[in-house]
Structure formats: structure tokens, C-alpha cells
Subunit: 383 residues, 2 copies
């Protein structure tokens, strides 16, 4: 096990009818900016619950944060925060609303060009305090200090991190997720699944507890994913999917072990260039990264095959290959397509994506062995 | 899944050669009280590492905290803290040193009789900031807001909790545990194991992730416990045992599920009255609590049998009974005896323990079905 530090100060409030606790969670003297997305919270009643809870607070609003929140949109909210002396940001929605709000929180009090935050990992010395009401389990952003921002103008999508952008609290009411559509649920399951595998399917590191904590989430996801379509009104299923998503990327699984993240970084480029949903991009890329790195990942893939898929086979290589197939079939069973061509993306894409990562001199994966040539090869396998 | 809140702000610094980070973790202007136990940290070099790291800090010392830290001893440290204007407490040792230091931290700034903290759960409005260097994996106290204190004069042992007694940081260097003796390691494994089962072997709550997170720790403990005797110099084994102990009682496993704690509460009385080590008391009591409550716990015991012990049997009742046997055998394989008579405790004990819990009008277990009569019956089975 490698040395590590772990520090996650987010207060989780989990359960039905918890949104009313907002009144106690945010100081009444605060000038709050309520941020949200495209208006689904107006239709499912979450907006009304939030406003009712904050009826004695001063609440400004900023609507319109997109899936893959745009830098350009966030800057408008930054101007509003500065002009109106906003001192608390409440993000209500999914991971995109939250990621956008994290950027807004940091950029509002940032000196200099805020584009340096995602592109040059400029140090964030402070941020406006932030809380969230999560309505879509997927990104894990509710319990971490990460954010991913897209710039429409240049078709770029980058992540950044800071201890200052941890939410002070996250309200997770699983009943808010009943109004999600099939595609949102499926994408969320894929996203959670791949967050876990990025921290687990690498090379062994004598960290058996972390391995099993990862397998715990993957096994639970497989079970609950099957139920969510058959029992769409089952609260427990929604609760379990939501807790899996939060636990999948709160830093715990990555303690003391190698991490991959190639699938995410390649996927971000597919989203930035071709508009794939984040979950779709991961479902396309993951089998390719695993196949390409099957030698390095053989031991972990075999363990995953045995423990999560209950497979047995005469050799570790059989198990590893079968585990990759099973995973792709699982994504497809959710209705998420796994080939570039199925999204209308052609043979020029592998080179285009590889070029962009190459220009940033990036070598991806736990072994840092995936440069431009390798990334092109991986995506060519995924056409 | 029940509604829950989870908020654990402890910063974990895990790994070899991390004690030197103390210099940065504690403000240099602090007046630190370094608390420790019976002097093992002088012999294994941890004291010297701590003092070297804090060579530019003001450090007072208080030695002599006992296993099952005594109220009477802690009060002496409280006087020292008040007299010397101590504004940071650094606990260096195992869970007892840390629990004692948590009490000292709260009592130093408590108005009124501090015995009300453990006995009447008096509200703790503040505490002196606290950090720790852990040298014995067992109690999980390094990442929680709990403490257990004993009063020698009256042979009492009580727990208390407060968000103010979470350590600000916990340094966990597994190499500090190489100097532990067999009994300390074995007791620590039992303690960790039972922390997990108190949150897991109850009744099903449609919380499959929490179940698997519990099983992850139990399975890892079984594996690593076998290795620790065969490979006593293996760093990874020590690291895994240490991380299991911390993860076993940091609040995560108990999120949204019923909890038992009968074994701990009965065990505390055995320690207070007869001086059993904490781990020994748990090893004695646990099989009795499970046997007595086997109907209520059948489903979880069977799941535990299948998943942790890889057992299969025709009926759930067979599985549950076998799981209880296996668990007792596991404790015995560590060298921890599991019968009262093996500790020289006689037939008067069941009534004596039951009477004390009855006087406090306590009904124990996740079903609150264990009053005086039932506790006496449980301990009679454990003679």
C-alpha cells in the first residue's frame, strides 16, 4: 500500500424529506445564489421544496447550467456573484450543475483569468462556500473536491481540484431521482461503475480492503441496475444507486493504490469534440483501454471476473478477456451503446482525439504508457 | 435504508515515515500537551520521532494513561491543561491513550462536574483541539467522535460522543505496530471484527452496499490475521490491519442501517468488574449475543456465513449456527479465549453484570430486547 492522505469534510444528509434541513444548514444571514440547470427541478418539485426551506433566507437564482457545464455560462454567474455580494452558493441538480457551481465558487474570488483554473491548474486559495441538493446520482461530485468544465468556444473539457471546493454539505434525497429518464439513470450507472474501475482495475498494490470496497460497489451496481427498470418506484433501489455513486468517487477507493483515469480523459475529448454524453463516452472507451492494457491489468481483471462476475476459467487471460466482454455487455444492457460508429462518429475520430491529448503531452493510465499512438489505437478498436 | 447523516472531518495521514509531518500539522504557536501511555513509545522510537518533529514547538507531556483510561488519571491531565494554558492535545499511542485524551480535551473546557460527560451524556459545547499518532490498530478512535472512559473508584466504564472530539488529524504509520506483542495484535483484530459485526449482524435493511463494505473488512481481517503471525515483518499486512481498524468504526458502515452494540456494552461491564481486556470481553460475549438473538439475526448471519466464510448449507439456520461457531473458533485461533471460566470468572458474574445494566434501565441490541434477564442468560451460556 502506498502512503496517502485522506480528508473528506463533506457533511452528507441522506434520505427522504431531507431538503427542508436547508433552513438550518445555511446561515440565515447568507446571500445565497441558487444555481440550477435546464429546469427539471421546477417540474419535479425540488425547486419548490428548496424555496420553501429557504423562505426566510435571501436567495438569488441562476438557471441554465448545461450538461457538461460551460465556462461561458459559468462566467455569467461569476459576474452575478460579484455584483450581488453572494456569499453562499447552493447547487440544485446533478453533477453538471454542481461542477459548474464549484467553478463559479472558485472563480468568483479568483484573481486573474479564471480559465487558468482548469487549464493550468492554477492554485485556488479560496472559494465561496458551497452546498448542494443532488438530484442525479452519477458523478460523485457531491462528496469530493473535483470539477470538470467545458469551453464551448474551443471545444475543450478539463478537470480541476481543490480542497476549497468540497461542498459544505450535500443533501441526497433518493426520491428526487424518480423523475429521471432512462438515459440519465443508465449514464449515471456507467459513470459510477467507471469511477470505481479507474481506481481498481490497475495493478495489484497489496491493498485488499480497497479492492473489496471497490468490488462492493460494482457488485451492488450490477444488482440494483437490474432492479431499477423492473421496480421503477422502489425507493431502496434509488437509495442504493445514489449511495453507490457517492461512495464511488469520494476518495476512499483510491487510498494508497494506483489509479488509471485514461478512460475519463479520453472520454472528455469525445464529449468535447463530438457531444457524447459523459456516460456514453466512458462506455465506448473503457473496453478499449482494458483491451489495450490487458497485460498490465490481467491480475486485477481476473480478480474482478471472479469476484464481481462470479466467473471461473482455466487461465487468467481467459478470465480477463471475458471480464471485458461482460462489462461491455452490461453497459449495452443498460441501453448505452459502446461503439463510436453507433453514435455516428467516423474513422477520423481516433486521430483527432489522440492529437489533442498528444498536444498536451499527456501519457495516460496507471503506467503512463498511453501516448498519442496508443490512444489512437485504442479508439480505432472502438469504431 | 434509513435516513442518516454522515460527517467525518478527520484528516488521515497514512504510511511509513509520516510522523515528521507533525511539524506542519500543528500550528507552531500552539502549547501542546503530548499524552501517552505506559512508555512503550519510548522503547519503540515513536516518542523520539514525535519530539524531533516538534522540536520547534512548545511541548508539555503527560504520561501514564492506562489501557481502559481512568477518569482519575485524566483529571490530573485536565488540571495540567488548565494550569498551563494548553491549546492542543497530541495523543500518541493506541485507542486508550486517544480515548483518554478525547476526554481530557472535552473536560478541560467543560463547566461543571466532568463525570457528567460519560454518565449523563452532558452536552460538550467545545473541546481543546486534538490530534493523534496511532500505534495500535483496534478501536477506530482515530477517525471518530467516540471515547470510552473508566472510573477505577466505582468500577464503571462508559462511552460518550461529540463532534468536538474528532481528531483534527490522525497519523497512521503501520511500521509503528511492529513492536506490538501477540496479545495486543490479537485483541485489536477482535475489536475491529466486532466493531464491524455490531453494525452488520442485525436485521436486513435493504442496504446492500453497507453490507458489502462490512464484509470487505471482515474478509480482509480473516486473511491478514493469518499472515500477521507467519510474516511478522511484512509492512503490507500491518498496513492492511491498520486500515481495516480505522474503516471499521468511522461511521460509514452504520450509515442507514440498524446497529447492535450489545456485545460492547456487556463487554464494558466485564472489563470494569473483572479487568478483562476489551478484546477479550468481546470474544467472550459476541457468540452469546448472536446465539441468544439467532432468530432475529438469522438472515444476516446466513449471509455472513456464505459471503465471509464461503459456507453453504441446506438451511439458513444451519448456516447461522455454523457462522457463530466459526467466529468463536477464529477468535480462539488468535489466542483469545472465549469463555468466562477461562479467565477465572465464576458463576456469579452473569447476575452481577446483568444487575448493573438493569440498574441503568438499559435494553440492548438492535431490537432493544436484551434486559437484565436476557443478559444474565447470555453470560450464563458463556461461563
Amino acid at each position: 500500500m502506498h502512503n496517502f492522505t485522506y480528508h473528506n469534510p463533506v457533511q452528507i444528509i441522506f434520505g427522504a424529506d431531507t431538503i427542508s434541513q436547508l433552513a438550518q444548514l445555511i446561515p440565515q444571514s447568507s446571500r445565497i445564489l441558487l444555481t440550477y440547470g435546464q429546469g427539471s427541478i421546477l417540474r419535479n418539485g425540488v425547486y419548490q421544496q428548496v424555496k420553501k426551506a429557504l423562505s426566510k433566507h435571501t436567495v438569488l437564482e441562476f438557471a441554465g447550467l448545461e450538461a457538461n457545464p460551460r465556462y461561458e455560462t459559468c462566467l455569467k454567474a461569476v459576474q452575478l456573484c460579484r455584483r450581488e455580494w453572494v456569499d453562499f452558493i447552493l447547487a440544485v441538480g446533478g453533477g453538471s450543475v454542481l461542477d459548474g457551481s464549484k467553478f463559479i465558487a472558485a472563480a468568483t474570488v479568483f484573481e486573474g483569468d479564471p480559465w487558468a483554473i482548469p487549464t493550468r491548474q492554477a492554485e485556488i486559495a479560496q472559494a465561496v462556500p458551497l452546498g448542494c441538493v443532488l438530484t442525479l446520482p452519477a458523478t460523485g461530485s457531491e462528496m469530493n473536491g473535483f470539477s470538470v468544465i467545458s469551453r464551448e468556444e474551443t471545444k475543450e473539457k478539463y478537470g480541476f481540484a481543490s480542497p476549497h471546493i468540497y461542498p459544505r454539505f450535500a443533501i441526497l434525497d433518493p426520491s428526487t431521482t424518480f423523475s429521471l429518464d432512462h438515459r440519465q439513470i443508465a449514464n449515471g450507472i456507467v459513470d459510477t461503475f467507471v469511477h470505481v474501475t479507474e481506481q481498481y482495475i490497475t495493478r495489484p498494490a497489496q491493498a485488499p480492503l480497497q479492492d473489496r470496497q471497490a468490488e462492493a460497489i460494482l457488485s451492488t451496481l450490477l444488482e440494483e441496475a437490474e432492479k431499477v427498470w423492473q421496480q421503477p418506484h422502489d425507493y431502496a433501489v434509488r437509495a442504493n444507486l445514489m449511495w453507490c455513486a457517492t461512495q464511488g468517487l469520494n476518495g476512499l477507493l483510491g487510498c494508497g493504490v494506483p489509479q488509471d483515469w485514461a478512460t475519463h480523459l479520453i472520454g472528455h475529448e469525445l464529449t468535447a469534440l463530438y457531444g457524447l454524453d459523459h456516460g456514453q463516452s466512458l462506455a465506448v472507451v473503457l473496453p478499449g483501454v482494458w483491451q489495450f492494457n490487458i497485460e498490465n491489468k490481467r491480475e486485477k481483471l481476473s480478480q474482478y471476473a471472479r469476484r464481481v462476475w462470479q466467473l471461473s476459467a482455466p487461465s487468467a487471460s481467459d478470465l480477463a478477456a471475458t471480464a471485458i466482454d461482460k462489462t461491455e455487455q452490461f453497459f449495452r444492457s443498460l441501453g448505452v451503446k459502446t461503439r463510436l460508429s453507433e453514435y455516428g462518429i467516423g474513422a477520423e475520430a481516433p486521430r483527432a482525439v489522440a492529437k489533442r491529448l498528444q498536444e498536451r503531452q499527456m501519457f495516460l493510465g496507471e503506467a503512463a504508457n498511453l501516448g498519442g499512438t496508443e490512444i489512437e489505437a485504442i479508439l480505432t478498436m472502438r469504431l
